[in-house]
Symmetry: C2
Subunit: 251 residues, 2 copies
Amino acid sequence: MAFDDKTDRTDVPAVPLYQQVMDDLKGEIARGVYPAGSRIPSEMELVKYYGVGRITVRRAIEELSRAGYLNRQQGRGTFVCAPKLKRKIVQKGDVQSFSEGCAANDMVAGARLVSRTVVAATREDAAFFGVEPGCELIVVERVRTADGVPVMLENNAFVLADHPYLQTLADKDLTDNSIFALVAEHSGRAPLKSDPCTVEIALADAQAAPLLEVPVGEPLFYMEAYFTDADERPLLLGRQKIVGSRYVFDI
Amino acid sequence: MAFDDKTDRTDVPAVPLYQQVMDDLKGEIARGVYPAGSRIPSEMELVKYYGVGRITVRRAIEELSRAGYLNRQQGRGTFVCAPKLKRKIVQKGDVQSFSEGCAANDMVAGARLVSRTVVAATREDAAFFGVEPGCELIVVERVRTADGVPVMLENNAFVLADHPYLQTLADKDLTDNSIFALVAEHSGRAPLKSDPCTVEIALADAQAAPLLEVPVGEPLFYMEAYFTDADERPLLLGRQKIVGSRYVFDI
């Protein structure tokens, strides 16, 4: 449909037309009118459909491509990207794991082990765990995928003495599963709350970029979460780098 | 202090040294050992202090500069940036306004009016407000500052018929104040919950960049929040672009 003329009145400035087209296309994608992988109508078709200029349509497509909704392929057309993940982070009450978040989005969660390292706790980390600085922590680093696409690089630290199995288990036991579930199974403890849980923006560095299959400098969410269990005992410290174009927080 | 040799053992890979230095410096900044505006020790001094190589120190300083903690000035040294804002977004219960968030961080909140525009509601926005598509909305756009530094470009939409004062008030009534408080005063309604409230990453475009005093392409948080009042009636739709290097979400 063409947009209401009202938005073009000169006495009241309007939401830019390209943004209206953008919002409408976003809605169509969300409702499945244009499903993931499908090709959207051509520029000229959209020009006719919306009753706006070619520059407006081009701008809307550019913005949606930059935001990870569309993917322009030279000579082939513009395609709808796989939907972003929507995971609800609940501060109080149950903590939702990445695996649960994927399931809620009808996506298959995967995990690929990158490294297991034993490190000496820094002063900050030691203070959270209630151990002496220098105490051994085990850090499990994994790439988490949704329907096979890398979404985050997760880095979870535990006190080694409390979770020795994380060092001795086979690699395959840390593959394609929930680490929350694994820890619960072996230690009887599950993360219940994450407080503080902060989210900043970081850029993909030379280590993270290839693992996440994004260019160096790609903007990422950097999440730091201090998880405690049902007894309010510190359980793990999670530091996650999440691909911005593949993720939406619902907070 | 020099880092424990344990972290250099060859049999167990360690958290990279530059990251340990980074974490330690971040801690010192957080504790006020190096207050905002102060110069941190020189590269050579840090090399001695941490007992690590110059490349390691340089990398740590680079990462902290990129993350907005430090600011290197050619020939003058490296300085601590003003702290990021930490605002608690609470999904249930009271909604914290930007002004309250600043106060909690001992920062002075400011607001500069960019525009007031009347637009026709898109299908999506109309569905939230429970009005017909095309119904007039008033969109108030302001730059929000903390201690004078632009932090976000806020874009709040209301149903014009319910909030006519937003069109008639003087510009100064929308300057350096909380729009939540203003709306409560004039309509008797306050935002109580924001659900959904999603956070994505976007890049600063040519409109937002100069207003936020960042380069075009700078990564921003893009937050979309659907606010309802105490009677669960839709009140406003907030779309905010927040400078990543000046903001931390605590969720």
